[in-house]
Symmetry: C2
Subunit: 345 residues, 2 copies
């Protein structure tokens, strides 16, 4: 049994919100419309970043646009999110960030003070990551043709020699380590957007993961793959890895960390934390003999304190992600299908 | 007399269309809001691209978002324009393009067929430039929160050793060479957008300039500066160079090539071709002893057939661009002030 994407034109010849979800509709749009137009070996690898060889150096290159709504939320804003998102896409390729670009699409009438706040947030987040914003662009569209501000951050990073990370590298027996609790970012955005009254404020986990990656690589460079489970959540990330590596992945429900307050909101709204977006969490897949040492190194890092081994890679049912539930049963964890939470990043 | 920018908050505490014009309001927004937030030496150079040293290689990095309206126009579409725009920003730094990223912000309801057409146009344009789209991103916003499709293309290129190009390098006595006629892109967009009935269809000049740059650099690497006069037109580009190099620039009105049909529309609408956007033209500033050889090389290239020496760099009135008119008088050519033609790229 192998995961297959529906055709995007099934049911619609127009773009749907779900085409931006990071789930099956996004995958189908990429597979059927975008990839055939640009096809080349680097893009075909479908990693979060492309790695180019320049003068003997491995240079990672990535891009992300940000349309998060609201622009300001507990734990961050569109500016810090854009920096963290692109730093993390570089970091998941093992790269230390070298330089960022920032392009802004502003809607006529957007408050200059909000723009100043966001620019300062970008600058502060980049500075905290030790990376410079070296180039940029600003466009303005008429009132009603945008939504305040959209950002694009692209980034360049340097990959240390000897790394070979890919979502196609997972092997049966590998351990699956998650760096901390799931769903904080998605629920923080949802709660602010919908004006939910909660007992405590749930903050986004938005954070840059490059130093956590350094801590992991200091233990061993024998890592198969690293990914940050953003849009589509852990479920979609693991499905991508299972499909590309042609392996099965089994996770233990009781091992997957979810904060009590996040779990509460998820239950209230009928959401599964496995599908909710994160912006400061990562998954590492690695040979089992390194799992304990990597786990210890992650737990010693401020952004990996809640790290846990949540599953294993299997040879049975390639392409399929299974969850062993708290009751001992098994269920299939599909890729996100629709548009659970639009404009989460 | 030195060019100074008005404060963006003069008259408005909100973003205006003119903040995206490429003229004085854009410059003020950059100077007062954006640059202070990210400040670093590379960004402070204010070139169209940043050049990083990686393992002994000079790597150019640039970004541009595209919000052109309409999406399809005579001579191109938003897809080819996005590829050419970023290839040209690399080329103006002397770089040959290595890799592009493409990020799309789609509005819910955008026709899938238009998306396919644009993706294919991106792929074809990139392929014609000999550059690969190696990484990408897709976001979707709700109907009414965008305008069909916005693109961002970022790019990486390799700068040959020994080049030192900068808008701060122009020296008195230098020649100013323009690669061809002004205003084709802006007038093509305007005519299509406003439904002007013209005797002939005016096509955008959208084209990739990296091979024209190669032809120039094959003659001499002693080039001071290259720029493509896009938003804000030749007038704004020369003002930027004059300000950054602290020199004067004098251009001859009779030497500046403008197509008859473009001039006709400009006269009809009260536009000055010096301010109208181009997407396949470049200015080179270089020592006078190389001017004839570079001009000949440009004219031998398909994209430089209309090249002309249009002016000289002077030591008088630093920061000021002057035009000698057909009647022998002089006039000051200011930077574009307002929002002549919004959403031109």
């Amino acid at each position: 049994m192998k995961f297959t994407c529906p055709l995007p034109i099934q049911g619609s010849d127009r773009v749907l919100l779900g085409h931006g979800s990071g789930g099956t509709l996004s995958a189908a749009l990429l597979r059927d419309i975008v990839m055939p137009a640009y096809t080349n070996p680097l893009l075909a690898r479908m990693e979060d970043q492309a790695t180019l060889q320049i003068n003997g150096a491995s240079v990672a290159f990535t891009t992300d646009s940000f349309v998060v709504k609201p622009l300001f939320f507990p734990g961050g804003d569109i500016g810090s999110l854009a920096v963290h998102g692109t730093v993390n896409d570089l970091a998941m390729g093992g790269a230390q960030p070298l330089a960022l670009s920032v392009a802004m699409i502003l809607e006529e009438g957007f408050p200059i003070e909000d723009l100043r706040h966001i620019a300062q947030s970008i600058g502060a987040a980049a500075s905290a990551c030790g990376v410079s914003v070296v180039t940029g662009d600003t466009k303005v569209v008429e009132k009603g043709s945008g939504d305040g501000i959209f950002l694009n951050t692209s980034g360049i990073g340097l990959v240390p020699p000897g790394l070979n990370l890919s979502a196609a590298n997972a092997r049966p027996g590998d351990a699956v380590i998650l760096s901390g609790s799931l769903g904080d970012h998605g629920i923080a955005i949802l709660a602010r957007r919908e004006g939910l009254s909660l007992e405590s404020t749930i903050e986004s986990d938005s954070a840059p993961l490059h130093s956590l990656v350094s801590a992991i690589l200091a233990v061993t460079t024998e890592i198969r793959c690293m990914r940050d489970p953003t849009r589509g959540g852990l479920a979609s990330t693991l499905n991508e890895i299972a499909a590309q590596s042609r392996v099965g992945i089994t996770i233990q429900e009781t091992s997957v960390p979810v904060r009590e307050d996040v779990r509460g909101v998820c239950e209230l709204l009928g959401l599964d934390p496995l599908y909710v977006a994160n912006e400061g969490k990562m998954v590492a897949i690695l040979p089992p003999e390194h799992a304990d040492a990597v786990l210890a190194a992650m737990r010693a890092h401020p952004l990996g304190r809640g790290a846990a081994i949540v599953g294993t890679v299997t040879s049975t049912e390639p392409g399929l992600v299974l969850q062993r539930t708290a009751f001992g049963t098994r269920r299939v964890v599909m890729m996100l299908a629709g548009d659970q939470l639009p404009r989460i990043c």
